[in-house]
Symmetry: C2
Subunit: 378 residues, 2 copies
């Protein structure tokens, strides 16, 4: 059953059938109805392959996603799909990290990128762990495939991207702690080969500088990684030292949970003895509410990121205009792990701190609930 058949049966030409299929207004209403009737009766649907060949349009976009198994990227994909499924596009998904061989990971994602382009997808959304390099950009541009990158920290003008402002997010988290009265705020820096870590550190530094608080080296110790035990051991090392913070800003939720656990093991209770803040709001994607502490954290609007990226790409495809990059902001989730510091753990503080703030901070300090049980054990 093809368009010629339909044309034969409805006694019109193939072009007319095609026009009916594409809602071309140059068809008399009468004819259109007659042809449509035949189409419906024969249960005919035009061949995607032929359409693709003729239109040079696949109605498929490619998604190159770092690791779909992790909630963060799954959330991004989900946002993409939410938008795309409201159109007549499909999504060809490539998981960049599937064969994870540390040694040729980059070769892998490049290969996947090539395969998407060769397949002739109409556009590509790229959500990786790292930035695209110039080779990739050249390749994509020369292939003529429009693309949108999620989290391009190079801010390359040749790239249309959807970003989250990690600098602003980290600054907001830090300011939240400052507002609560913390002065000894440490930052468990993430691996510095990741721009995300770098940006978050920058945001922390910005906020501390705004508050005129000096940041010493010991306040800015690295976490070595993004995993639970990276945060755990960070905290263990920290607690072995003399100078302790009243608050720690972690570089993500996982390490924050690790730090939380280590601190609890050492008899600290959160948020009384120590405030902890993370990034991501992982808990929202795990259904184990109640078992985990309600971590105070900066929410990544993952769904929105994907949604915006898809919208941007399809707009480009359908209307031809490349839209400008977008920066989304993170939202503070006030959980149970950040509160005003207890008086006695606070040091005199940076010499530059404003007098007015110090007074306000002194007032807010509650003395009572020191022995409250930790959330988790209730």
């Amino acid at each position: 059953m093809n368009i010629t058949e339909i044309a034969r049966i409805s006694k019109v030409s193939r072009s007319t059938v095609s026009r009916v299929l594409n809602n071309n207004p140059l068809v008399k209403e009468e004819t259109r109805a007659a042809v449509q009737k035949v189409i419906d009766e024969m249960n005919y649907t035009p061949s995607f392959a032929a359409r693709t060949l003729a239109n040079k349009r696949n109605n498929v976009i490619g998604a190159l996603i770092y690791n779909i198994v992790q909630p963060f990227w799954a959330g991004i994909f989900s946002g993409i799909e939410r938008y795309v499924s409201s159109t007549d596009y499909g999504i060809l998904l490539v998981n960049s990290k599937n064969h994870l061989d540390v040694w040729d990971y980059r070769k892998d994602y490049k290969k996947n990128l090539k395969s998407l382009v060769q397949r002739g997808v109409d556009g590509i959304i790229i959500a990786l762990n790292h930035d695209l390099d110039l080779e990739d950009i050249d390749f994509l541009e020369s292939s003529g495939t429009p693309f949108v990158v999620i989290q391009d920290s190079t801010r390359n003008a040749r790239i249309a991207s959807v970003n989250v402002d990690n600098v602003a997010g980290a600054a907001e988290a830090t300011r939240h702690l400052l507002k609560l009265g913390h002065r000894q705020i440490f930052h468990a820096v993430g691996p510095l080969d990741s721009t995300i870590s770098k940006d978050r550190m920058q945001g922390y530094l910005n906020a501390m500088q705004e508050a005129n608080l000096p940041v010493t080296n010991n306040m800015l110790v690295g976490c070595n990684g993004f995993l639970f035990y990276d945060g755990y051991w960070y905290m263990k090392r920290l607690l072995a030292q003399k100078q302790r913070p009243t608050a720690v800003l972690f570089t993500n939720d996982i390490t924050a949970f690790g730090g939380y656990q280590a601190a609890r093991e050492n008899g600290l209770s959160m948020p009384e003895d120590l405030s902890v803040i993370g990034f991501d709001h992982l808990a929202s994607s795990m259904d184990v509410a109640g078992l985990l502490p309600d971590l105070t954290t900066m929410i990544q609007p993952v769904g929105k990121i994907g949604y915006e990226a898809a919208k941007m790409l399809l707009r480009h495809l359908d209307e031809g205009q490349r839209s400008a990059s977008v920066v989304l902001s993170m939202i503070l989730h006030e959980g149970d792990t950040a509160a005003e510091p207890l008086g006695n753990t606070v040091r005199p503080g940076g010499r530059g701190s404003k007098a007015g703030e110090s007074a306000a901070q002194a007032q807010r300090r509650p003395k009572a609930n020191r022995d409250r049980k930790p959330e988790l054990a209730e």
Copy 2:
């Protein structure tokens, strides 16, 4: 740059170029090399669209996945992709649950299924929350699109499927508890409109019957759902009653975590006062090891499920032979939440229980560590 161009430059006919592209042996080695050289130099790749049109082969399979955001389904997809990416196929992913409107979810997945078929994918892998209905099967068969279903509990002979043996898995979990010496084993039954729940209940019943232990109504109370608080309230209700179990078999990890939490709140410690077993081994996909108890659970081999399904489908596509359905088994993960019961909580037990077992069980019972702190608070 198309095949005609290549033919012109290399001074052969288009058919010869096509033969070179498809490794047809009827081409002289000399000619082949010359043509290949031009292809490489011009950086030419044949058009997927034209190939699809001519071959009636897309080299794309569709994946209809229930909810890619949840680790279980993400794991299945990942397994699919691991196999597929070793071939030259691509995957068109459709998330069946995206617009989740409770009222028309079924309409939704049917629409998605149709769209995959119309797009002309070569085959489809279907991993849903529920079984396909006859309408779906008729539709797929009449479209001629091969398909593989993940978890088809109808065991329909028209369906090629990859299954996990929930009955055997639940029986194994129950036998594990029996071997530890438990007699009062309750099962927190999942929603019975789900075949998974039904099968797990059946496995539990089988194992109990094998052991000649009667199952009374109160041992088989429903959990109302698959979520954390379903398990939580189940346990709260349970603990309000006089007759308490020494072990509870939950229908999945999430509810098991909920039950665990509720029991802890009531002062019980696991596994001393109560053993708890779940299904799925969720923890393996969440990176918060250390914060959550190491739940004893039946592992679903999610990656393998997806991998096998993909293998089965692509074999069918490439070799034309439809393979038989596969049943995979679950694996017991011995975590920290199931152990021998304490003596005083064990009742005389089923009258049919074997004497030998009772003796062994009496010996194994530790009296000491009753007051050990719960895992989580350490």
